[in-house]
Symmetry: C2
Subunit: 418 residues, 2 copies
Amino acid sequence: MASPVTSAMSTREKLLRARVAAARLAQLTTPEKNKILHAMAEAVEQNAERILEANRADLESSGLTGSLRDRLMLNADRVKAMAQGVRDVAGLKDPVYELLSEWTRPNGLRIQKLRVPLGVVGIIYEARPNVTVDTVALAVKTSNAIVLRGGKEAVNSNRCLVEILSGVEGVPDGGIELLDSSTRQSVQELIQARGLVDVLVPRGGSELISFVARNATVPVIETGAGNCHIFVDEAADLDMADRIVVNAKTQRPSVCNAAEKLLVHQAIAKDYVPRIAKLLLDQGVELRGDERAMHYASGIAVRPAEEQDWGEEYLRLCIAIRVVNDLDEAIAHINRYSTKHSEAIVTRNEANARRFLRYVDSAAVYWNASTRFTDGAEFGFGAEMGISTQKLHCRGPFALAELTSTKYEIVGGGQIRE
Amino acid sequence: MASPVTSAMSTREKLLRARVAAARLAQLTTPEKNKILHAMAEAVEQNAERILEANRADLESSGLTGSLRDRLMLNADRVKAMAQGVRDVAGLKDPVYELLSEWTRPNGLRIQKLRVPLGVVGIIYEARPNVTVDTVALAVKTSNAIVLRGGKEAVNSNRCLVEILSGVEGVPDGGIELLDSSTRQSVQELIQARGLVDVLVPRGGSELISFVARNATVPVIETGAGNCHIFVDEAADLDMADRIVVNAKTQRPSVCNAAEKLLVHQAIAKDYVPRIAKLLLDQGVELRGDERAMHYASGIAVRPAEEQDWGEEYLRLCIAIRVVNDLDEAIAHINRYSTKHSEAIVTRNEANARRFLRYVDSAAVYWNASTRFTDGAEFGFGAEMGISTQKLHCRGPFALAELTSTKYEIVGGGQIRE
């Protein structure tokens, strides 16, 4: 078999190979796919040393430091975790060819609606090499060919992983294609490959996602932008509010489901704004506020929030606080500025909670819980491609079922249309 | 209320009005929406004369003739049918806030997945004024604001209809917006209105659809391209094949679910190709064929098919015939050239039928029935926005349920992530 990695094939040639592979993958049975996945997990573990060596080359040549270096870095435990992730996907229910509904029309036509593979799935992503393995596992399980365009920092790690995964018995030629990461050309070709790519997932920073969404002519699922809000209602249990706000802001500030904005009902703002401001400050959180929040928190280090703060995803230990007149103002503020990812209300008033849950127009809306739970594993779906913030096809955790399309199979006895 | 039709508002102003209206529409109950729909049907009937007058102005100024003129033309019966279509939509089940699934996580979080409105739906369409009324009815039923960009031939009809529909009590300001159809500028603004339009549906010829798909930065659902195939297997009931092929090709050749290509198994080609060729010729169908089909139909007027024929949607009384060696060649041919709309196999062999149904990668695949049944009404869904030929969100008839997105409502008791 021609190596998908080392050959000098063009992006178009790789995509054509992926299309052919997709037709073969669609014919694999669930046991065949699970066998491939277990063999992949084993191959990753057996080649741990080789993977770590490739990864060291990336770490050295990238010159990255701090959290970016940490995202790129693999070690023995992380390699084991990648292999376990593949085994976990093998254990999930196969969604392909699941019967979704069936009915018979008055003319006798029997209609069945089934899940089917998407076909060729493209992904453009940044540093983390584990995304390579997760994505390949999800693609195999859903009988999709996968075309990967990783970041140039991870080029050696990704090459090594794709060589190992595509060498596993049963993986059709072209089923896993890795595009050149040294220039932007492969990105341009991938996002414009109409008819060759069924869905493209940009996974990374907001700049990458926005670039892809604006320039792609193939269908895209946007993931990951999270300007998440917590609204502390006048009827809130304030101890619970403290725990939820601190957790959602500080437990892992660099991820998309971390809270970025705090809205406080004016009836409790005088007491609650300074209280939560102090708590957050103790956790090293930088504070910004609107005029009223600044007023109530006088004496605490709060900088004035600018208009652009309300739309910004900080992705670090920073939060902006706004005092709102009532529930409906909180809902309106969120619907105006949110990226429609995850929002929470803290309240003891069920009517308020129900109104917030219903009319906040976001993928996941919480009553008395941290926004940090918006995650495929936390929802019980297993591994995921990301969190979708768009309204078409998939909203919220983008997991196995969302890697499928549907078709209608219709059985007749010679019916024609009059 | 400011008239959505006669004012000189910009596209952006209209879209901002639509966004505000979407939030109000999301709060309407099912009875409130059905009341609006019944009032709309009545208003259409009561204003029939005014509508016909506006339509006469369009017919005169457009200078259209033949089938294009027929598509644009309204008469008393067609106005009644439009009103009845709105009443039919009122009678359909409301999908909004339907509970799709619910479960409780080990940590006690209760997750519910619900259908929710998309928000602001845009549609770009051509001549037929009934699309205006159908689309508005579907939007009201699904609590979506609708932004219409009709064709310039129908400008008077569409203005008149939107004035009547948006004047009905209960329709929020901005809930139905009609964009300027005199220039392409409104199209450009609509397809690039990221953040203001949740989904855009181009409905019309392949040129329009391709232009929108290539240039839009908002999410698009592509509809309507139908290069549909019928495969007559060696085990076919040939009388049934005759009826299905003639029906699928000739009953309404200008629509997307009409057959455009005929594949014949080589084992029966010697007899069946001349037989079906004569039948089709008698119905006025122009015939094209590959080398073997030409050979078997010698003496019948069959022109050689060029490579581009296999990918073309004729939308008229023309068909191309190809002889294939076996079932798998038929499947491979279809998966290569089809627009993935509707395909049919005629056979008495169940194993062949099941293989065809499963591995032909199209929205609707038929065994022993005409492709002409791919239609919202024929499937039992009621009115539709079109037939989707893409794999994301919606495949096949694009009806009420597909005009919704989903959200997760999650109820906790103070859960935070460890």
